[in-house]
Assembly symmetry: C2
Homo-oligomer: 130 residues x 2
């Protein structure tokens, strides 16, 4: 059902190739270098489709617009509250917690998102000087 399109391919590639977690506007800027007349609407449409298809992951960070992560494997995020950078952390969450959830509430977990808010190494250092 999802056809191939130069726009979608380029968008996906931009996200996968970036080590950052890009917002729609950043993706737009990047893709425009290759397809100058692409429209923002196309970016949003494809971001949504790609996220639904499981090709990318949408992240929600307090206060800012959605970011997209080209890594879809189970991993978590460390978000620095000072500089705003997002770091990945690869480690599985405890499956036993999900078992307890299922047992007590009947809720069937399909995905888990763990995010840590705090201060990155760099920002801890710099805040000591102020």
């Amino acid at each position: 059902m999802l056809r191939k399109s130069k726009q979608r391919d380029t968008i996906l590639r931009a996200i996968k190739n970036s080590s950052n977690h890009l917002g729609a506007d950043r993706v737009y800027d990047l893709v425009k270098k290759e397809i100058p007349n692409i429209s923002l609407g196309t970016i949003y449409r494809n971001l949504k489709l790609l996220a639904q298809a499981g090709e990318i992951r949408e992240l929600e960070i307090p206060g800012i617009s959605s970011r997209f992560d080209g890594t879809t494997s189970n991993h978590h995020h460390l978000i620095c509250e000072k500089c705003g950078r997002i770091f990945d952390w690869d480690e599985l969450t405890d499956p036993a917690m999900e078992a307890r959830i299922a047992k007590k509430t009947g809720f069937k977990v399909k995905a888990r998102y763990l995010k840590f808010i705090g201060l990155c190494y760099d920002c801890q250092k710099s805040s000591k000087n102020s």
Copy 2:
């Protein structure tokens, strides 16, 4: 620094008294019953201030506007992808993971947010009939 105001008190009370996780628009509707001429801007301003003050917690849910949680103790959320309801789950995350994060990256965790996406009990039942 934070003064007392009828508006802010009412907003906070609305959130604390609700077992749901309200969005700004819902808070607006509720508070308007008590203070008919309150403005949406005031709702947003206070929601942000209260969240910063740690009185409430802002939740980010994929695709929808921010929700606010009157329970600020460490707990997690189960989000049903079908009906959209949000359930609370009280259990601590593994402190050992944070120790490993600190050791490897130097990131200092101040808060953690774990959210589970899946199907609630009711929706699992109803989807079997379709």
